[in-house]
């Protein structure tokens, strides 16, 4: 039997601390057995020779290797200085209390392990266990920052601190999707997702280390250009024009997407990725709001047409800057409320987390689109023909909307009204599994990270989706409703990776597309299964 890894092993140099062997991942059912022997493609030596890659089979950040022992030492002391700041009120008032409580009260009972989809589907790899990284951080903190720590470490758990420890810990903080499923089952209330979040912050806020997709091309670009997609305001308006034309074809009437309307009731914030990848989602919102006679607007101001806030995953400073921008745009437009479109992390960022950041007239009321849409769909003003959605539908619960915000039923009440063949996944609601793309994973695909995501972190979701449709013939089209851009991105990727459209008839999309698809009076269906329309006009 192989020796189990211990938290202290993270400090011991080796080429690869943890490798997933063939056949170790949770098995997939037919017709996907051919993936059961799949492993993560080994990265070419020339690709990784200058970066830290000794944690496992993939690389999320790609931290440059220090050039000398002196540089290593400097990085170690930077790390310690950052760790200290995590426990200071001036530096970390945002999460100080939750962090201290979670650091001090873990009983190491392992109840959380079975709740973690990554740990479970990876073949129970020790480094992915929820408390592995927490315990590494806890031991470093106690040993190197607490008085007498070097002596008590022998009694409370020892660990060595060197560059290997730090580089691996940084990478390891990007092997958890911050789904917080582990936190819901902890009998004490300890939150390993939170500890992981704080590790990411330490690296970003003190050492400037973060995956480029979420920092450089993410939050920095968001603040500089206006959107993490790189789209400026003009390009956003152009896409909207194109969307309007498309929507006209579907509805048979002119659909207006209003921009910068001062005093509108609602400022709708979309994840700008929708405009590029799923423009029909933006169009569907426009049709619903127009048909319901709602006073609404989009904002063309930089950051105002992109609801994302990547800071939520790794950096409180970047988080605050984006949140303040969003609120300030709404304030100047004098809208009554902000409605957040189908983007899970944007929901939690602006509604829940920023609630303890925005004061005075920046504290504009904020509402989930799930709620606004429920009010419209169930309000009786619009007529629906649910038989148009006569295909099996299941619902994915984005962690940020459901587990972190408690918005569980509105989307279900809508589906019960418009999708006669709706069925739940098991488990669902606040006990859902993450899509595997949470906390930035959906947009990270450098090196071979995308493959790791498809094989490991999204695996549980894929199994759940297959299971939800197990009683349906393989060749009929099925719809996974994922009311979140990042979740949709990961579900798109697993559908492609496992050829699930061909093998199981899997299709995916948002909630508003289903609403429009069943809306009475449409000239054409909004949902198509490949070339096939979901209903005949």
């Amino acid at each position: 039997m192989k020796k189990s890894l211990k938290p202290s092993d993270i400090a011991k140099p080796s080429d690869c601390l943890c490798h997933i062997e063939q056949g170790e991942l949770s098995p997939l059912p037919p017709p996907y057995e051919d993936f059961n022997q799949a492993t993560i493609t080994v990265l070419k030596p020339e690709k990784i020779k200058n970066i830290e890659s000794s944690l496992d089979d993939t690389v999320a950040i790609g931290i440059p290797k220090p050039a000398s022992p002196e540089e290593e030492e400097k990085l170690v002391s930077q790390f310690l200085s950052g760790l200290k700041k995590l426990f200071e009120r001036d530096n970390n008032w945002t999460f100080l209390q939750p962090l201290m409580l979670s650091m001090e009260h873990c009983a190491k009972c392992q109840t959380c392990s079975a709740a973690c989809p990554i740990y479970e589907t990876s073949g129970r790899k020790e480094i992915y266990r929820p408390i592995f990284r927490s315990e590494v951080l806890r031991r470093i903190y106690k040993k190197y920052l607490k008085p007498g720590g070097r002596i008590t470490a022998k009694l409370t758990g020892d660990i060595d601190l060197n560059w290997t420890t730090i580089a691996r810990l940084a990478e390891l903080s990007y092997r958890c999707t911050l789904c917080r499923r582990c936190a819901t089952v902890c009998p004490i209330g300890v939150d390993n997702g939170l500890i992981n979040h704080e590790i990411r912050k330490l690296f970003s806020q003190e050492m400037g280390i973060a995956p480029k997709e979420i920092h450089e091309k993410g939050s920095l670009q968001h603040l500089r250009v206006g959107s993490t997609t790189g789209m400026n305001s003009l390009a956003a308006k152009d896409s909207a024009e194109f969307i309007q034309e498309e929507m006209e074809e579907i509805t048979g009437y002119k659909v207006e997407i209003p921009w910068d309307v001062e005093g509108a009731d609602i400022l709708l914030l979309h994840n700008a990725g929708e405009m590029l990848a799923w423009p029909e989602n933006v169009g569907a919102f426009a049709i619903i709001f127009q048909a319901a006679g709602i006073s609404w607007t989009l904002s063309s101001e930089a950051a105002g047409y992109d609801a994302v806030n990547y800071g939520l995953w790794y950096d409180d400073v970047q988080f605050s800057r984006v949140a303040v921008k969003h609120a300030d745009i709404a304030r100047r437009l004098k809208v009554k409320k902000i409605v957040i479109g189908e983007c899970g992390h944007a929901h939690k960022a602006l509604t829940v987390i920023a609630d303890r950041l925005l004061t005075g007239d920046l504290n504009i009321p904020r509402e989930s689109a799930m709620v606004t849409l429920e009010n419209i769909v169930l309000g009786g003003k619009l007529q629906f023909d649910p038989s148009k959605n006569n295909f099996p539908v299941t619902l994915h619960d984005p962690c940020n909307i459901v587990r972190s915000m408690g918005i569980v039923e509105p989307q279900r009440r809508i589906l019960r009204k418009i999708a006669p063949r709706f069925r739940e996944m098991t488990p669902h609601g606040v006990e859902n599994y993450c899509c595997g793309g949470g906390s930035g994973f959906a947009i990270m695909s450098g090196y071979n990270f995308g493959q790791w995501r498809n094989l490991v972190s999204s695996r549980r979701k894929f199994l759940q989706i297959l299971n939800a449709f197990h009683d349906e013939p393989q060749d009929i089209p099925k719809y996974v409703c994922a009311p979140c851009s990042n979740c949709k991105g990961s579900i798109r990727d697993i559908t492609d990776y496992y050829h699930a459209e061909e093998r199981s008839g899997l299709h995916y999309g948002g909630l508003v597309e289903l609403i429009i698809n069943a809306l009475a009076g449409m000239k054409k269906p909004m949902i198509r299964f490949g070339e096939k329309p979901s209903w005949e006009p």
């Binding site: 392992q110 758990g157 920095l220 509604t351 004061t359 989930s368 918005i407």
Partner: protein, 314 residues
């Protein structure tokens, strides 16, 4: 008298250390919301599936409500019977439940012993040895004491066994973890032996508790310090009281903060309210994070930084 001094010191350490733990928690700055659903003080309809007040249209126009009854409905079985563990980790529950319940029963026994001592001290004529009220209280003391000791012994031994034999738990267990549980087991064992060897009605414990209130005077000829097991029990019980708040075992009561101040803290920030004032104080704090994009210099506040562009962009 030496035993009493030790007990007084340990009780003082417990009060001091617990006070420090609580003081530290209540003086921390208000943190951002990080609740996780189900939030148990939600309405009955919503708590059933983990919903929140944010499921309502224009939720900010409604009064923020928090149901203590629903919270209790969850908390009481959670604290008493470890319902979460029963659901999520049954094999650990089998040893953890008797351990925790044994502890609660010991705390209850101590409470009853104190009550007995106070009434005895009060010199109520109706409460003399052998009469009905005294017999009832003594019976209760014996019942809670014995059941606590039996459950505590089974539970602590079971946890020790599980920690030693379960691979997952062993990897993460340190010397301190084994020490803690062994310490508690020896206490339970010593106390059980003391009772078994001639004090089935916990007369020694009654006398000792009375002595705690009177600086060592005891109306009773038998005090537990007369036997080696009795002495061990007093020493270990006293040390345990002092030791708990110094370790993660303080989760027994610090769980309050983990649940109420983090997991279930969903109170919305309202303009002009207390939360808003606390946020404003936080925004005046001055960070010193070193990464370039932060742009902190120890002079700029969170407010300045949040309303400025990252350095890389300038």
């Amino acid at each position: 008298m030496g035993f009493y001094i030790l007990s007084y010191v340990c009780i003082a350490v417990f009060i001091g250390a617990t006070g420090c733990l609580i003081y530290r928690q209540i003086t921390l700055p208000l943190h951002v919301r990080w609740e996780i659903y189900p939030v148990r003080h939600e309405t009955t309809a919503r708590v059933a599936y983990g919903g929140s007040y944010m499921e309502e249209v224009n939720w900010w126009n409604n009064e923020y409500k928090s149901s203590h009854i629903n919270e209790l409905k969850y908390m009481v079985p959670e604290i008493l019977f470890l319902r979460g563990l029963w659901k999520e980790n049954r094999s650990l529950w089998l040893v953890s439940f008797p351990f925790h319940f044994g502890m609660y029963l010991m705390i209850a026994t101590f409470g009853l012993l104190l009550l007995h001592a106070v009434i005895t001290l009060g010199g109520f004529p109706a409460f003399t040895a052998g009469n009905a009220d005294e017999a009832l209280l003594s019976g209760l003391i014996a019942a809670t004491g014995w059941s606590g000791l039996i459950m505590g012994n089974i539970g602590s031994l079971g946890i020790l066994y599980k920690r030693l034999t379960d691979r997952e738990m062993r990897i993460y267990s340190s010397f301190a973890d084994y020490f803690n549980i062994l310490f508690i087991f020896i206490f339970f064992l010593a106390a059980l032996i003391t009772c078994l060897l001639g004090d089935p009605l916990l007369e020694g414990a009654k006398a000792y508790t009375f002595g705690l209130l009177t600086g060592g005077h005891s109306p009773h000829p038998y005090v537990p310090g007369q036997t080696v097991f009795g002495r061990t029990t007093i020493v270990l019980a006293s040390l345990l009281v002092a030791y708990i708040p110094l370790t993660h075992m303080s989760h027994m009561y610090m769980k309050y903060f983990l649940y109420h101040k983090v997991k279930w803290d969903d109170a919305p920030n309202q303009r002009g309210g207390k939360i808003e004032s606390a946020i404003m104080r936080n925004l005046d704090l001055k960070p010193t994070w070193q990464a370039k994009h932060v742009g902190a210099d120890g002079q700029k506040s969170w407010h300045d930084i949040a309303t400025s562009a990252p350095k890389e962009m300038k």
